[in-house]
Symmetry: C2
Subunit: 200 residues, 2 copies
DNA sequence: ACCTGAACACCGTTCAAGT
DNA sequence: ACCTGAACACCGTTCAAGT
């Protein structure tokens, strides 16, 4: 958003660093991400990153923020109302979440690791909150349609998102005991929705 | 279990390394865990660990196995039948899980990170399976008592454990938007149990 | 303002050598 | 069998210096 000042030797080093870091993350995991290697790749000295990020952790945090922004965009698209019932809509949202996590496992891992640091910057927590604002919205509309019990949507949706996220953590290689994640997600959401029916 | 051969310079270096590593993990997180520092602490040369662990990752894997064994012990104790109903028992099991994770956050994180590596050793996956065998047992007894719908206990319990684990991942510093994890766990389990009631 | 090069204090891993 | 010491190829970070 901020207009970049005239470049010196490199076009926009900060941006280039973040992009190269994201690539490194996808290719070789967080272990392969070093400031010196990024600098080499971009043809600048290994001390250049210092001008744009206080230290390595600052770059990782910025990368985590980008991740939550991407996740936010993915969730926003999946949360759009298409006239389905609550179950179908929540399942679509959950699948989008799982899809992002499986497509960018190292990035996804970095995002939550960064968020869990005691001194995580506010901008990071805000980015996370942004992405996690979509499920409550879907729940609220489910309530409006009489498909979901009354109660704080944020609190109700937390259980659903926790289940989906936990499924990712507990599973291995996109499956659990041979059953693909996608199927398990649908199963769990359906059972959850059943439990969330208004009690007559 | 295996009888240790006569020591050379150190009593039982393998054991000492694992204990020192666990301590380092608790104190300064996984970032503070280096083979050289462990060696210094134990008064051996920095190449000694090589005799007992092929590389650093092998030590981390062994540490992760220990973690799952500890978790298994904690879960086994919590899963014991005390004559409560299914809801109370599952809540106790979930709280034990959360308690372990909050008490040893770095270790807990290491365990699942190790488990997610593509080349995770079978012994690690077995240790994980061991700890996760307790919830299905509780579910099976819940079914026997007519408190839970029919279905594969492993599959049914997966949703519950995923929700609890996910809550840990999504939350920050043992809470979520100011609400303590313990309370959220109880809430989610209760709602889940409600959804798992046999449908008449 | 932005980048460089040398220097410092660390790593993990390898390997020939010791007892 | 078990450990050592030197060596190698890396790190992140600091700092005086350049344009």
């Amino acid at each position: 958003m901020k207009a970049s000042p005239r470049p010196y030797h490199h076009g926009n080093l900060r941006e280039a660093l973040l992009e190269a870091a994201a690539r490194a993350l996808e290719t070789g995991g967080v272990g392969s991400l070093t400031l010196r290697e990024l600098s080499r790749e971009l043809g600048v000295s290994h001390t250049s990153p210092r001008r744009h990020f206080a230290d390595k952790q600052a770059l990782l945090d910025a990368l985590a923020v980008r991740g939550f922004e991407r996740l936010d965009a993915v969730m926003a698209r999946a949360a759009k109302d298409r006239g389905e019932d609550f179950n179908a809509r929540l399942t679509r949202l959950a699948r989008a979440y799982v899809g992002f996590a499986l497509k960018h496992p190292a990035w996804f891992g970095l995002m939550f690791e960064a968020k869990h640091r005691a001194d995580a910057p506010p901008v990071l927590l805000d980015a996370s909150d942004g992405a996690f604002a979509h499920p409550p919205a879907v729940f609220a509309q489910g309530q409006a349609a009489g498909e979901v019990v009354v109660g704080d949507p944020a609190r109700l949706s937390l259980g659903a998102m926790a289940a989906v996220h936990g499924l990712l953590s507990i599973s291995t290689n996109g499956q659990f005991k041979g059953i693909p994640l996608d199927r398990l997600v649908a199963e769990i959401i359906e059972r959850l929705v059943w439990g969330l029916r208004p009690r007559e």
